[in-house]
């Protein structure tokens, strides 16, 4: 196997934890992320690839990178 298995493990784990923490399916998490992006982009100029949602055990963090130079 050329790809080290840790990157696969981390990716799977991150997805699992988000669905566990929010008690919903990965698809729902995806939709939520999309909706949040849609809402934020109404007020703030942000590109999809600069927009990131992180779910911890107690908070939902929305991160976006502003204007780049």
């Amino acid at each position: 196997m050329s790809v080290h298995s840790v990157s696969v493990a981390k990716e799977r784990l991150k997805n699992l934890l988000v669905s566990d923490r929010m008690q919903c399916t990965p698809e729902t998490v995806c939709r939520l992320e999309g909706d949040l992006y849609h809402t934020v982009s109404k007020y703030v100029e942000v590109r999809r690839e600069d927009f990131d949602v992180t779910v911890t055990r107690t908070d939902i963090h929305i991160k976006y990178m502003g204007e780049k130079n």
């Binding site: 298995s5 840790v6 981390k10 699992l16």
Partner: protein, 263 residues
């Protein structure tokens, strides 16, 4: 007043009982008065790991039901200064004890010990609720695997929801050689994902299996796991010892991996 620590994990087989035994023994070697309590009703194991299985007369359910006094059920481990075991019941099930009864038992004894360690059963059902009922803080044991870390995250959430705010992570059975070649999550990977304080890391060490076979501790022995367990005990007594995440540069790594490959 003693500190009440529950050792838990969610997933089974990650090393809760071995950890409870070795931390209990290590703390007693640091001159602390320690009681280890097996709360896994129906699956009694802590006594076996400690090599005390032939000395059991009464158990935790007998104490809670009032069939005997606590002193009669306690097993003093004569190999160590001040170490006591309250064994679990092998024939009862989880429902024979309630969280309120566990809380009361702990309140009754907490002035008599420096540390009260509770070995929690796997799962998140009543056995877990019983074990955490009287705890001040927890040690969450995990191994660097997706399923174990996922369960650890769930458990930390449940502990926080029950008002237990201090939850420290113990990463068990870290394979240094595998981390190095990118086939096992590193200490940093795990702590970044779980976002809790790290109490310690126990490298995968065949000495743990050998010691457990014999009902003897590994803590304090001259091996990687033995030293790592003793460091954890010292940290619990308030000493500031940096956590070794076993990500040292080449020379050191070579030596360690060769130890693992020798067999």
């Amino acid at each position: 007043m003693g500190e009440v620590i529950v050792i838990t994990s969610g997933k089974g087989g990650v090393g809760k009982t071995t950890t409870t035994a070795n931390i209990g023994i290590g703390l007693s070697e640091l001159d602390k008065k320690v009681i280890v309590i097996d709360t896994d009703l129906g699956l009694r194991n802590l006594d076996v790991v400690m090599g005390l299985e032939n000395r059991i007369v009464y158990n935790i359910v007998d104490v809670i039901e009032g069939s005997c006094r606590l002193k009669q059920a306690l097993i003093k481990d004569k190999r160590f200064p001040e170490l006591y075991l309250l064994p679990s019941a092998q024939t009862k099930d989880k429902t024979s004890v309630s969280p309120e009864q566990m809380k009361k038992l702990i309140e009754d004894i907490r002035n008599d010990f420096d540390f009260i360690l509770l070995d929690c059963p796997a799962g998140i059902e009543q056995g877990f609720q019983n074990a955490i009922a009287g705890a001040d803080r927890s040690i969450v044991v995990t191994t660097p695997e997706v399923s174990a870390i996922r369960d650890a995250d769930r458990i930390i959430g449940l502990l926080e929801a029950s008002g237990i705010r201090r939850n420290d992570l113990l990463i068990n059975r870290l394979r240094i050689d595998m981390v190095r070649r990118g086939d096992m999550m590193s200490v940093d990977d795990v702590t970044e994902i779980l976002a809790v304080d790290l109490l310690g890391v126990i490298p995968d060490d065949e000495q743990v299996v050998i010691a457990t076979n014999q009902g003897e501790p590994v803590v304090g022995e001259d091996c990687l796991a033995g030293k790592a367990y003793m460091d954890i005990c010292r940290r619990l007594t308030g000493e500031e010892i940096p956590v070794d995440d076993f990500s040292r540069p080449e020379g050191f790594f070579e030596k360690i991996s060769s130890l693992f490959h020798r067999n």
